[in-house]
Amino acid sequence: MLADYGYYLLLLAFLCSLYGVVTSLLAASLRHRRLFRASVVAAVSGFFLTLGAALLLWAFFFNRDYSLAYVFRNSSNDLPLRYTLSAFWSALEGSHFLWTLLLTLFSLIAHLSFIRDNEHFMPYVSATLHSVLAWMYYLALTYCDPFLVQFPAPQDGLGMNALLQNPYMVFHPPSLFCGYTLSAIPFAYSVAALAYGDITGAWLRTVRNWALLAWSFLTVGVFLGGRWAYVELGWAGYWAWDPVENSSFMPWIFLTALLHSLLVQDKLGQLKRLSLVLSFLAFFFGFFGTFITRSGIISSVHSFAQSPIGPAYLGFLGAMVLFAIFLYGFRAPLILPHRVKKAWGISRESALLLTQFILGTFGVIIVVGTLYPILSELVTGQRFNVQAPYFNTFAPYIGFSSIAAITVGNLLRYQSDKMLGGKKLQFIASLGALLLTFVFSFLADVFRSSGYAFALQLVGIFLCFWGGLCLAYQAWVKARAVRTSVLKQLPYWGSFFAHMGVFVAILGFLGNYRGVDTLVTLKSGEQTQFQGWVFTFPGIAIEQQENAELYNAPLHLAKNGVPMGVISPARAKYPTKPEMLHEVGLRDGFWEDIYIVLSDFAQTGDEATFQIHINPTVKFVWISVFLMVFGGILSLLGHVIYGGRTSWKREEGIPA
């Protein structure tokens, strides 16, 4: 009964979005201001209706009401409270619902913010958002209805996927989905700009704010996903170039490219059409990722939810591409670049364009690699799965060239080929980087690898430090030049931290390119030695942790005779699932992580086999994400606080 209300709430929300599409299109064609208010009302009511339905679904979860098929399949009586909360999005219906909910929320905010500046094309923005929403509601009502009822209601559920019972999985999907759904707004604005036939300064400011927010959320989401894989999957890595991982990375790449093309657009009034294309790609690949995950078309470890939703999604994606191509083809000629007096030559804008190109190339490689199973099956008849080594062949060159582009681009100025610091800076930075490379290589134990990989690592580490030193010099110059308020510089400082984050990340990737590992079997009381560490195994202990029964196999750690704590890898038995899952034992240090998986153990509890990994510089990768997100937020704050002034507007003499 109650479940029916949920369904009807969604149905009403669907009708609201249709109403929103109709009214906003009418408002656009009649240029009718009050009609647009009707579509704002549709956005508001759509959001509250969806929120109501979502709360209802949560209520079912918390009441352990298994009359709802979705609740029955994805939770059970033993589930702790926080996972009952996250069970909401642990399968197809709920994650689709969460996506829809977030999209209504952001569409609501988009309908209420920046509207005075963008009044002349807001109806188009509204129409785009409402039609995407209508599509989402349609799917929620047909293919993945979370409110399907079953009778009689069972006493206990089947249980939530044990892999997803992890704190990171409480936060990872919402932040990732925030990123995806937020990128719908730059897309909507791009459609509006094309439909209206012009891009204004206000458009730029609005889109930049939304894109920065989307980028920050997406960065957090991708990071949490990697962290989850690291602590939960037990293969000692955080990134495997899996199709689903790739599809969260593709929108990130295009959003990053979009932020940089907006920069050129801001300063010079050029690359406007590129921004439109990039905002479409960022949004499209968010959806595309969902399609890959849901349809089961490409096998992935992360395909937690599969359903017959595939063909419907494919239709939508195809329609989206066609729509975008037609709209762009007919309307893009209206959008003209601002006049620039000089050829670009060697200048910051050229470096920014180069960055776009590097990011775009990387994006294309990832797309090709991800779709390769389908491509090869179409042509040769045999499915060929491209895996990590393929991507890893290209990654270093992409990484190194982006370091170069970032550094040179930052040192150059717009419309000028003068480099900040000149030859002197280059000399000092190179020398300093050489020194730091040696220090880092020793501390991070890079010398484990040899040959080609070793050469790549050294070059990469050198480049990172060189770039870091150059950017640090620029930051010093900027900091000395503060005259009125540091707030005016916030966007610069944001970019500084984000770029430093990129360098730290690449350092981390290079450091843990080659970890070491060993497989040992120990009887209780025995000890083993590996890479200077001594591991002593006292025996297996069984303990109860929340709903899981843990078979703990602690290893006492010592280095040079000094005890360094205990690492407890374990196997976990969840009451609703037959298999035993890995709980990784982890000691994360600054220079190296000790990462232990309990491969096997004797039922008697006095013998166990451990896989011991030593992963250098993983910490760097986590630190880098904080730097990047901090940078993103700083930049956003800067733009929000001190938003009005875009430089080409000043040139044109338009009051901000």
Partner: protein, 162 residues
Amino acid sequence: MRRFFLVPFLVVSSLPSRGQSPLEISHSVETLTQEEKTLFKDLTNELRCPTCTGLSVLQSETPFSQQIKSAVIEQIREGKSQDEIMTFFKDRYGLWILRTPPVEGFHWIAWLFPLGIAVLGLFLLGRGALRRQSTNLGQGVRLTDDIRKEWEAELNSLRKAR
């Protein structure tokens, strides 16, 4: 962890396939020298775990992977080169066992495509950046001085005509 998804397949996969005898698990990595271990890692990282999703033989502990690892160790001990060992596995299991597309036949495209984009892109980029000097009069860009002047000129000529 990923291994667990595949428990049902393990039984099937560890049976002898394609009329060949199963490889035996009888060699341990620890018996190799340091250089041989590096070679072992390079090799097993390039071979896919037949029963996993997205994992290499090196990363997985399924029986099938262990058999392959063991075979690799044996052949390293026999003094075979990296290419010879790869050829052995390609012949035995087909291209399917590889994790990267081989440079042959259709699979050229996987390598040529990114390279082509890089070369073509750099060429276009270089040309564009050097020539990028837009000559249009800024129609579509609102309120530029040019438009204002143009319109004023137009208006003046109209006034004169009247």
